[in-house]
Subunit: 244 residues, 2 copies
Amino acid sequence: MSDFEHGPFSRKLSAFITLSEAESAVLASLHQRRRKIAAGRDVFQQGQLGQAAYVLSAGWACSYKILQDGERQVVDFQVPGDFLGLRSVLLHVSDHSVVSVTDIEVSEVLLSDLLGVFERTPRLAAAVLWAASRDEAMVVEHLAGIGRRNAVERMAHFLLELGARLSLVGMGSRAGFDCPLTQYLLADALGLTAVHVNRVLRQLREEGLVAVKDGYVAFEDYERLTEFAGFDPAYLDQPGPLLK
Amino acid sequence: MSDFEHGPFSRKLSAFITLSEAESAVLASLHQRRRKIAAGRDVFQQGQLGQAAYVLSAGWACSYKILQDGERQVVDFQVPGDFLGLRSVLLHVSDHSVVSVTDIEVSEVLLSDLLGVFERTPRLAAAVLWAASRDEAMVVEHLAGIGRRNAVERMAHFLLELGARLSLVGMGSRAGFDCPLTQYLLADALGLTAVHVNRVLRQLREEGLVAVKDGYVAFEDYERLTEFAGFDPAYLDQPGPLLK
């Protein structure tokens, strides 16, 4: 189980809680039912009943909603260490769909698994609540972005957020990160058209802030980009664990 | 404590969990530090460190974000039974502000209070996670609304959501609900101008769907409004508690 003790899920939760050996072992027990899913498959769909959640251990996923008229709104992307559909386990009916963006590896987590974890180590209940709060804070940022940021600031903020999330699990830095997202996915996340995404990315590159090319996001001037986007990563990481 | 055992917080959580007497007593213990706050006051502000959360037992509140350029995006409104700033307790730095819309009554909840609850009754940890998931599902709906619904559908969906939330705590029905929200607050929640809100409300009234007047929202044709907005209340309530 040692690979999971230092896997992205533990690594991410460690930002909130200093994990004891017993707590790490309990977390590792959530990785018993593992599945590999190829890129482009629905992991679960909006409207499904009694859905399980998943912990993503490798690859990228995308959560989205289909509206009445068939239009899609991307809610967020998930990277290693994130839950897929944690909300769906608790809401009885899943309010969203999740699709694999790349080939992914997941571990299935049932409501009974979560309750078992909470009974054994109540501190982990707080850690899971932290993870859910962090997910919500990201959706709030996306709402504020679509509601109040212009397209260029919105894209800049979004790329910085992804970079900070990936850094936390060792997959990114202030230099940049590998990014499998197409312009269509970015467009559906940011409320733009693919043509508009292309124009916005060109503007950010011409201003020497960030360059997106061949599946890599290169932060060319991290400080200036952060200032431009008004990005404060406090909702994603902490100066040290709140629960020692 | 009996008034809290049947207060809006217990009543709301009862949608998810069949509360035992012991669990009801633990919930009631969260109402020890009570405060009254006048209308129009900041309960806490974005950027505050080590913020407490609150359970709202009377009145309406509003959570919002201030963007870099000073613009405001309303994230959601809170009604009795809701948490204020649950996220802020866990994120170390509060990512949003909360203001009282009316005079309100709240009970302060610290991270240590939550941990105490989780230790005593792990099932309540799942119930709090459910409440957080429901809050997140609402923000997701608001994101989908601003991203993909037109202004009239967006308003219709929003009013139906508020009605369903208030019904769960005995403050609304399919006939309608008392609503203290101004057109300015509605505008900042829905990404519209106050003038646009006025036009949208007139359109909904002229179509015989919903009438907003003198602080009351009257659903004039609940079924047709629900169909028009594509509203499915599954994310707000459940056919019965998931945890018996």
